[in-house]
Amino acid sequence: MPTLTEIAKATKKKREIKLVGIDMYLITEKGIPKFDEIGPFKCEFISNRGTKVWPGFVSPDLLMVNWYRCRFMATKDVQDADVNTFLDALTKKGWWWSAAQKLWTYDGEAGFSKAY
């Protein structure tokens, strides 16, 4: 008789995972970061406390802290090694980052949320 844990694990469906980008969490006191394309990654949006601050309208009243989420999407097929190169390049440009989160699609469906 399988345990409930074993039954739960058996329900998992196999899905095709594809790397499509990186969420970078940067700490800076210099305001909203600006980026050129870095290798095969292009900045799609930047959010602060979950609110999109680039591109588009930003309320002058918006409270921003020194921690930004910068979403970089791949402009071509990429591998994990491209992420390592990207992180090196970002560090060399002087950006101080607290975390990086790879963005994957699962059977073509985004496994990451958009910013408000």
């Binding site: 998992k12 995972i17 406390r49 309320s59 994957w104 496994g111």
Partner: protein
């Protein structure tokens, strides 16, 4: 006639437009001078303009700095973002003020409930940072910041002081989430030092829920992070009569949006049978914010009288009146007493 106020009206969707028309009729009949500027928001907008919140709506709200909003719809699990959350984010409406006060004519098992909830409105698990970090693990980032926590505490104390309140408690789960909720609590305690006239304290969220159900009269003002605030404000609304009578305001430093907190009830759209009271009491709250206290009091008194008579009330409170008939009865009551 006093000052003319220019207010953005956001009728929303589903039953929102018919509710907002009824509410407008009542507010206009109260003697207050309001120029209404209508703008679109929500799912209908997404279909028409490709966005929940068109630029024109943003510009009008930014210009008028005040809006009255009907309900909008947010699908669960998938689909587009919430129009409400988008609005709060765009205008940094960080304080969700949700009073829960007994309405005399709605019979409830308590003698007294008069709670002012101050919910932080922009952070916590609502920062929209979610990832499938493996194919079997989903993760949502809970974001709590010092300035975000500090300003909601400061907002609450200022509001409480201006309204003669005595006691403010911070609701949290800092025994488990020591860094995030701990930071929220630390900021509250820091702000509390500036307001020594208040009785202050803190309460763990699960205990707070139990205490609210057992003895709601013990609470005066509560300051809550976003997620607990979302849940507990509805709990408080349930204590006093449900979401159909619950007002709400989303406030920033330079903009205020008053809204009902219930859904858009699309299955009733066009039937003119839903109770517009939640938007109406939000409108009353808006009038008080605009210092139109006399008009606010007139509407409130007339609404209570109509509810008390039970002749022209909607189906949810045991009547057969339409949305418009209920609103007209309130107008008639105001004019009869004028």
């Amino acid at each position: 006639m006093g000052t003319q106020h220019v207010v953005t009206m956001l009728p929303g969707e589903g039953t929102g437009p018919e509710i907002c028309e009824a509410v407008r009729m009542v507010i206009d009949a109260s003697g207050v001078d309001i120029k209404w500027e209508y703008e679109e928001i929500g799912l209908d907008c997404l279909e028409k303009h490709g966005t929940l919140l068109p630029d024109k709506t943003i510009q009008t709200i930014a210009r008028n700095k005040i809006a009255l909003k009907g309900p909008t719809t947010t699908p669960i699990g998938t689909g587009h973002k919430s129009a409400n959350v988008t609005l709060r984010k765009v205008f940094d409406l960080y304080a969700n003020v949700r009073p829960a006060k007994l309405i005399p004519v709605l019979k409830r098992p308590w003698d007294k409930i008069d709670i002012l909830n101050f919910r932080e409105n922009t952070e916590d698990c609502y920062a929209a940072i979610e990832h499938m970090v493996s194919d079997e693990v989903a993760q949502c980032l809970k974001v709590i910041t010092w300035p975000g926590s500090y300003r909601i505490a400061e907002f609450a104390f200022k509001w409480a002081r201006a309204n003669g309140r005595k006691k403010i408690y911070c609701v949290h789960k800092a025994n488990i989430m020591k860094m995030t909720d701990g930071l929220f609590l630390d900021a509250f305690r820091e702000v509390a030092k500036k307001y020594p006239e208040f009785e202050t304290g803190d309460i763990i969220v699960d205990n707070c829920c139990m205490q609210l159900v057992r003895n709601p009269a013990q609470f005066d003002c509560l300051v809550l992070p976003n997620l607990y605030g979302d849940i507990l404000t509805d709990l408080c609304a349930g204590l006093v009569g449900g979401l159909g009578f619950a007002p709400g305001a989303n406030m920033g430093d330079n903009c205020a949006i008053f809204e009902a907190v219930h859904g858009s009830a699309p299955k009733y759209a066009g039937m003119k049978k839903v109770n517009p009271s939640a938007v109406l009491v939000s409108g009353i709250m808006m009038l008080r914010w605009l210092h139109e206290t006399a008009a606010a009091d007139r509407i409130e008194k007339a609404m209570f009288a109509v509810l008390d008579e039970r002749k022209h009330v909607t189906y949810d409170v045991g009547g057969t009146a339409t949305t418009d008939e209920y609103a007209q009865a309130i107008v008639d009551k105001m004019q009869a007493k004028a």
